[in-house]
């Protein structure tokens, strides 16, 4: 009591830390600059700079005979990108990414919905653990594990056999395009592994978005005569849409860029990531590799623009 009574304003602190915090309190912008400067510099120079350099590369071409890069502005590389074989790769990758995203969203929504609306206490902890746990183990281990699961002698085949459903699996594998010798060398296999590996990136943003939807909006819709389906269609889904879009950005772009999963599980046909890997490595065609990486950037840009036009971010 007496200490407080001595002076209303406490004396200035003499220590360096004390002076520093007083200084920062008076000049908050300086603190902000110190905190944000280095990461922004990193982002601006190293990250965006290298991206720009990459873009630039795609406007150069490779000399067919010497294999050296010809540093002259040309659209020749893009012309090369648009040949049938390369368009095939792009189409294959984009289709796969779109399907993976769609199915991930459909699977993730109920899980996220349950976690956001009903799970409490230890069930919520369990949900986070279950969703995050796969992220803690090595990606390669998971993919190889799936290769074994999906193999002809794998547990899935065994499972189908025990259920007397082997005919179903065989019928699926006999289908053109999605089928193959076994699941582990088919597009179906690649698809399953993609969906599995990226699932947490879809669940978490949707869960976060749903968590922010107040319960009383659901009740208000129902009160006004909205059936559960209408409430989902007109209230819950639009409000969860930013989360779905965020999740789909992850699954879509991760699938577009991945080159390991289709190499380990799948038919031997190339995806964009593998093409980039091959072009910049063995083939040494850096400009074409760069042009290939521009494709996902353009697609993601167009996707975000479309999402914005469709009002996906209105609820933000």
């Amino acid at each position: 009591m007496t200490i407080v009574a001595e002076s209303i304003i406490l004396p200035e602190r003499r220590s360096t830390a004390g002076r520093l915090s007083d200084f920062f309190w008076r000049h908050p912008h300086v603190l902000l600059a110190i905190l944000l400067g280095p990461p922004l510099l990193w982002l601006g120079l190293v990250y965006l700079g290298s991206l720009f350099a990459l873009l630039l590369q795609s406007f150069f071409s490779i000399d067919e005979f010497s294999g050296l890069i010809n540093y002259e502005f040309t659209l020749a590389t893009y012309r090369q990108l648009l040949t049938d074989a390369n368009l095939d790769i792009i189409l294959r990758t984009v289709t796969m990414a779109a399907l993976v995203t769609l199915v991930s969203a459909v699977i993730a929504f109920p899980i996220a919905y349950y976690a956001a609306r009903y799970a409490r206490g230890k069930w919520k902890a369990l949900f986070y653990l279950a969703v995050m746990l796969p992220l803690w183990s090595s990606y390669l281990v998971k993919v190889y594990a799936w290769k074994l699961i999906l193999a002809k002698e794998g547990i899935l085949t065994w499972f189908f056999e025990k259920l007397n459903l082997l005919w179903l699996l065989d019928a699926w594998l006999a289908l053109p395009l999605v089928g193959g010798n076994s699941l582990s060398v088919s597009y179906t296999g690649t698809f399953i592994v993609f969906v599995y590996v990226w699932m947490p990136f879809m669940i978490l943003p949707i869960q976060a978005a749903l968590e922010r939807v107040p319960q009383n909006l659901i009740e208000a819709s129902s009160d006004l005569g909205g059936t559960p389906a209408q409430t989902f269609r007109y209230v819950l889904f639009p409000l969860a849409l930013p989360g779905i879009v965020a999740g789909s950005i992850f699954t879509f772009s991760l699938t577009l860029g991945d080159y390991i999963i289709p190499q380990i599980v799948g038919s031997s046909r190339l995806f964009i990531g593998q093409a980039v890997y091959a072009q910049q490595g063995t083939a040494g065609n850096i400009p074409l590799a760069a042009a290939f990486t521009v494709v996902p950037i353009v697609i993601m840009g167009a996707y975000l623009w479309m999402a914005k036009r469709m009002g996906a971010f209105d609820a933000l």
Partner: protein, 332 residues
């Protein structure tokens, strides 16, 4: 007279918490019915039972003669104005108001017109294109009202709809709500913890405490003749006279209530009862002074007209009141 809402021995328990405990009530069609009580007394839960967001643990609910148990909210011709409005943030004001009509499949043009009429009715014409986030609290409250009324509900439930508004706006809205209810003839069930609001607006008031109805009656009854000590305390701070004082005044009951404004600081006239004590405290309330008199250790509040002046603290005074203003009460 048709019964709009009937509660027959209705209870709603949440584990050990008895949010609503054996409540009986009968709300008449076209009535302005208020549910008054302190926070946590079960008013909202009662309203949610009517809307269908909660199912009773026991008892029976009827809405216009039809059993309401197991009927989902979207199949009840009952609409709610939520405490925090619950407007859809991703829809425009017009879409918010038209929502109920939209889900019922009414055509675009027709529902736009109905929604605009409803907005005009709550004095917000031309606000349709805005978003809820761009409106003030009072405006949002009106939108919530329009959104409910546009459906022409049989019963409108209002959960402390004016709680978030400042005094001036609240008084204005009280009048508007009252006249709206009169002109539309819709049954209003109005929840509030503000006794002044309940008394001034409602045809009948149910006073809640700990999930039970303490008293149900007209505002005059509840105000002038509180049945229990809780009602006397909660509805306008009646004086509660103890058994000792009651005996002294020749009353049989163990407790009695006495309204502050029924007491005068003056010698008794013919037939009046009187008590004497000393002035303990006083405060200026505008039109009246609130003077607290110490009568043999019991405190009795008096609402004395400001023009009368106040005797100084500590001075002896005589209180007088008519015997008819002394109301015996049931229990503690």
């Amino acid at each position: 007279m048709t019964t709009a809402v009937l509660f027959d021995n209705v209870s709603r328990y949440f584990g050990a918490v008895r949010a609503v405990d054996r409540v009986n009530l009968k709300i008449a069609e076209g009535e302005f019915f208020a549910m008054l009580g302190p926070s946590g007394s079960g008013k909202t839960t009662c309203l949610r039972l009517m809307a269908g967001f909660e199912q009773p643990t026991g008892g029976h609910i009827e809405i216009f003669g039809e059993t309401a148990e197991g009927v989902p909210p979207y199949r009840r011709s009952v609409n709610t104005v939520f405490q925090d409005y619950a407007l859809f943030p991703h829809l425009s004001i017009l879409e918010n108001v038209a929502y109920g009509l939209m889900v019922k499949g009414i055509g675009r043009e027709e529902r736009r017109k109905a929604a605009e009429d409803a907005l005009a009715m709550v004095k917000l014409p031309g606000y349709g294109t805005r978003r809820p986030g761009q409106l003030s609290g009072g405006q949002r409250q009106r939108v919530a009202l329009a959104r409910a009324l546009v459906n022409k509900p049989k019963v409108l439930l209002l959960d402390e709809p004016l709680g978030a508004l400042d005094l001036k706006l609240r008084e204005q809205m009280q009048e508007e709500l009252k006249s709206l209810q009169r002109s539309l003839g819709i049954t209003f069930v109005f929840v509030t913890h503000d006794q002044g609001e309940a008394l001034s607006m409602a045809d009948r008031v149910a006073v809640f405490n700990e999930g039970r109805i303490q008293q149900l009656g007209s505002p005059e009854e509840v105000y002038n003749r509180p049945k229990t000590r809780f009602v006397a305390d909660f509805v306008g701070s009646s004086n509660v006279l103890s058994a000792d004082l009651c005996r002294k005044l020749g009353l049989k009951a163990s407790f009695a209530s006495l309204r502050p404004e029924a007491v005068a600081i003056a010698p008794p006239s013919d037939g009046a009862l009187s008590l004497s004590g000393t002035v303990a405290s006083q405060s200026f309330l505008g039109a009246t002074n609130r003077v607290v008199i110490d009568v043999e250790g019991a405190r009795i509040a008096v609402a004395s007209p400001a023009a009368r002046g106040v005797p100084p603290i500590g001075s002896p005074v005589t209180l007088s009141f008519a015997p008819s203003d002394l109301h015996p009460m049931e229990d503690a």
